[in-house]
Amino acid sequence: MSTTLAAASTATSTGEAVQFWVLGTVAVLGALGTVLMRRAVHAALCLAGTMIILAVFYLANGAYFLGMVQVVVYTGAVMMLFLFVLMLVGVSTSDTLEETIKGQRWLAVAAGLGFGVLLVGGLGNASLSTFNGLAEANAEGNVQGLARLVFTKYVFAFEITGALLVTAAVAAMVLTHRERTERRSTQREMAEKRVRENRQVPPLPAPGVYARHNAVDIPGLLPDGSPSELTVNPTLRGRGQVRDVSDEALADLAALEQRTQEYLERGERPAGNAGRDADGSGDRDKEKAK
């Protein structure tokens, strides 16, 4: 930086060059990942990496305030907002790959290449062999210099930006607000409706209540032994990851009854105790003790 105190210089330090080539490669890879990753979450993570690298480049270019703002606002707030919306919309929704417009992808790549060639050609034509450096402008501190400009030369733009932010906040609230068209039914009304329809009159069992596991992907069994899909998380239901053990449970019950029947037929115990053989293992242990 000290070398840039002169009016104009032609080259930056070697360290900055190394940093540029290493981090620039990673930034381009991140940008490509944003475009090419099929899952939106992966694309968001790639974009966050690119933004952090851009923050480092801002710092290297003497924009200390903007580098910090980039980390706080972009990777901190904007990307988190993106991830929030991804959670709302559904993480598992990946992009469809079939083209709706024929040849759209190749046309887009061709247009991108042409645009890039135009940009790079324009840059190559410009005479930019020397640069001034920010040593003089940052002399009293980057934040102080920016503040001097924001509150004098650009004060109207600054005020209008404030109005824009307020408008955006109000717009977000208006857009996402949804008016209820009907009154929310109370718990009592829902219970009465269930009784009137004579469907699912008792409350639902929790997952795994009558099953042998309490894992969340195992539906609870209704008193008649049928599984209730409603007891499983809708996400698991949507993915088709509900593990159905009701048949196993019923088969176990049948085997248990079979064993009880055989036991009773041998007639070694009075008939009154047979009804309590709900849990086979404990009774069998007692029987061994005898």
């Binding site: 270019n61 919309v89 930019l128 402008a137 980057n142």
Partner: protein, 99 residues
Amino acid sequence: MNPVNYLYLAALLFTIGAAGVLVRRNAIIVFMCVELMLNASNLALVTFSRLHGNLDGQIMAFFTMVVAAAEVVVGLAIIVTFFRSRHSASVDDASLMKL
């Protein structure tokens, strides 16, 4: 190295973002590509500031950031509203003005 290389990098990132906007059809990813383009232009503005030796370019980048924040808020609200009515975030499904 000349700081002009930062400009080439910004041009490259901007191009990648623009191609992404054209190629992708998930509205959120399209939006992320727009953010990438905004960031690329910010990098160009910061580099211009260094080339010229004054802070005006950084002020421009600062305002771009503020506008981008406002844009993200409104855009994501639109995507959420759209998803509620269509149950899809694909830009192909936004072919009607009204449901």
